[in-house]
Subunit: 364 residues, 2 copies
């Protein structure tokens, strides 16, 4: 099949760029001796999870039990549920997953640990646990100190659980920010503090798991860190380019759209809006941008409704007519993928692979 035969909107994945992205991060992890356990929330597709494993990942990360279930065909030897799972039905489903593969859960409360222990014990299974530290994101996770150590000790005492170490997510550190270096140093210091506490308390640090995509290539500056869980790096997006993590050539995913209206000179409407891209914006030099037009980045994607994308071509050299097709790199690829049933793996003009986004909408 050729790209020209696809109907729009369609989510295209450049297979060579994808392979390059997998290799780029796997090489970094290998060079610095990191375990790589990529977060599959970006692609939600077992075939791509398998590619990550084949490129050297030791396991995969998911946020929801439904994502873990959908990832089964990847045959990962190991899954991290990087989320405080709660509820009897979810725990039962998680135990079914854990019968097929080693499962680890990150958590920040005794309540979640206790319920997980009960489920593991009843199932006759052992579930790995990472206790989550807050290194400045102020989301889930406990600040370093007595509460964190105490939770880890309590986890050690619960049957069916195997405490493996620490988990954190430095998603608040965003390189373009003026205080990026200071934030990075502060998070590193908080992590070092918790690790020191763990060592003093005789608690395991077999796994110290962190790493988001924007900060990824500085991971070796973080003492004690030994596992990376990047998600977005498989495809990248406008956010990742803005963060300095990658260039446009590393953006492997783009939405193919069609011009459906040219109602006024200099303006065009395409057949993708917030239901195709989601509604995250990126502030750029020229104002707020809703995505980057591959064919001519001077075209301004200045507004979206649910099914309409608004383009301003007045400062662009590109001219368009109804029926023309454009590729648009989303601002945030993770939420875009979640809106699509299929992704089309391309090389040149050929569609070589059709991916079903198996974990799309798996909210539970």
């Amino acid at each position: 099949m050729r790209i020209a035969e696809l109907d729009t909107p369609a989510l295209l994945v450049d297979l060579d760029a994808l392979a390059g992205n997998l290799s780029r991060v796997a090489s970094y992890a290998k060079e610095h001796g990191f375990r790589l356990r990529p977060h599959t929330k970006t692609h939600k597709t077992p075939e791509i999870g398998r590619m990550q494993l084949d490129a050297g990942a030791v396991g995969l990360t998911v946020a929801k039990v439904g994502e873990a279930e959908a990832m089964a065909p990847a045959q990962s030897p190991d899954l991290l549920l990087a989320y405080p799972v709660w509820g009897q039905r979810k725990l039962e489903r998680l135990m079914a997953v854990a019968r097929q593969t080693q499962v680890t859960v990150s958590l920040d409360s005794l309540e979640v640990a206790q319920a997980l222990s009960d489920a593991a014990r009843q199932a006759g299974l052992t579930i790995g646990v990472l206790v989550e530290e807050n290194v400045g994101m102020d989301r889930t996770g406990l600040a370093p100190g007595a509460s964190l150590v105490s939770l880890a000790r309590q986890v050690q005492g619960l049957p069916g659980l195997n405490l493996l170490g620490l988990h954190f997510y430095p998603g608040h550190i965003w390189p373009p920010h003026a205080d990026y270096d200071a934030q990075f140093a502060r998070s590193g210091a908080l992590l070092a503090q918790a690790c020191d506490d763990f060592r003093k308390a005789g608690l395991p640090l077999e796994i110290v798991s962190g790493g988001s995509t924007p900060t990824l290539f500085r991971s070796h500056e973080m003492k004690d860190l030994n596992e990376l869980r990047p998600g977005t790096y498989v495809f990248n997006d406008c956010d990742m380019v803005a963060s300095g993590f990658c260039g446009w050539e590393h953006c492997a995913a783009a939405v193919l759209v069609t011009v459906v209206s040219t109602p006024r000179p200099g303006f065009a409407i395409v057949d993708g809006g917030t239901k195709t891209f989601s509604s995250e914006t990126v502030p750029d030099a020229a104002g707020t941008s809703w995505g980057r037009i591959v064919e001519d980045p001077a075209v301004k994607f200045y507004m979206k409704n649910e099914e309409h994308g608004y383009l301003d071509l007045r400062e662009a050299s590109l001219d368009v007519k109804i029926g023309d097709r454009l590729r648009i790199i989303p601002n945030h690829i993770c939420v875009t993928v979640n809106l699509h049933e299929k992704m089309y793996g391309i090389r040149g003009d050929a569609v070589e692979q059709v991916f079903t986004v198996a974990a799309r909408g798996k909210l539970q």
Copy 2:
């Protein structure tokens, strides 16, 4: 089944509130003699489309051919595709729909009209056409004047098409804006101008179709308007309350979430973020809000990531612990529904009906 048995996040629909919303708008339409052709993009569910028809709608509106296909079980006698459909495959699929029900398309270009005419002629069908006017939204649609009249005349000359009148969308008129009245008057004047042009040119005005939810109850102030296409009114949301269209009691849909972490005093994390609600925000008096907590609106929903909702309870009387469940009214329900596979129709504590969101993700 009881609500307590549902896993979270789960999208709840209060069936009584839904019925009240359907009746409220149907009564207004009847009182003022409007045709009501509701936009199904909000619920994407044929059962609810059927309820709209049973409440007095003359037909249904969709934005995509895939939505039209998914709406088939509603057995609507009439469908409006309120979108400039383009592409051979989409047109073939639309003709298959048109063999089952009367189809009308709104469009703003000769290119789209010509391709639609070719498809209709080949299929031996007649497709209704509304020519789209721009009444200030600056999206699709032509300004009133010679181009609009000329397009309508050309449509009249194309085989397989039946020009029925005018289409517009006043989605730019948002009651909280300071110039709401002026915007409304300006759009009304633009519509009147196009209608006068049509009359002078002997063009049909059998259907003059407009109306978005926020402006709905002022539709009778718009001369010549005879058809309404509201979408959001079935469920309503924080946006609609902010616009003054309705009260909180008219918000029929809410997402049931679970508290999964209480990492710091005064803060909690729930198991729904941008992949559960989408990322539209509503500016409110206290800052930007990401949704309204039904149990205690003083709880501030101040931030979202993909699977995390951040609550600030410091100024609320509500206290929460891990495992507690809350209902959150989304800012924009149309994009929220599109993220869910199912909706749960409730009365009191009982789940009385499970809806499959059949048109979820039907982007093409």
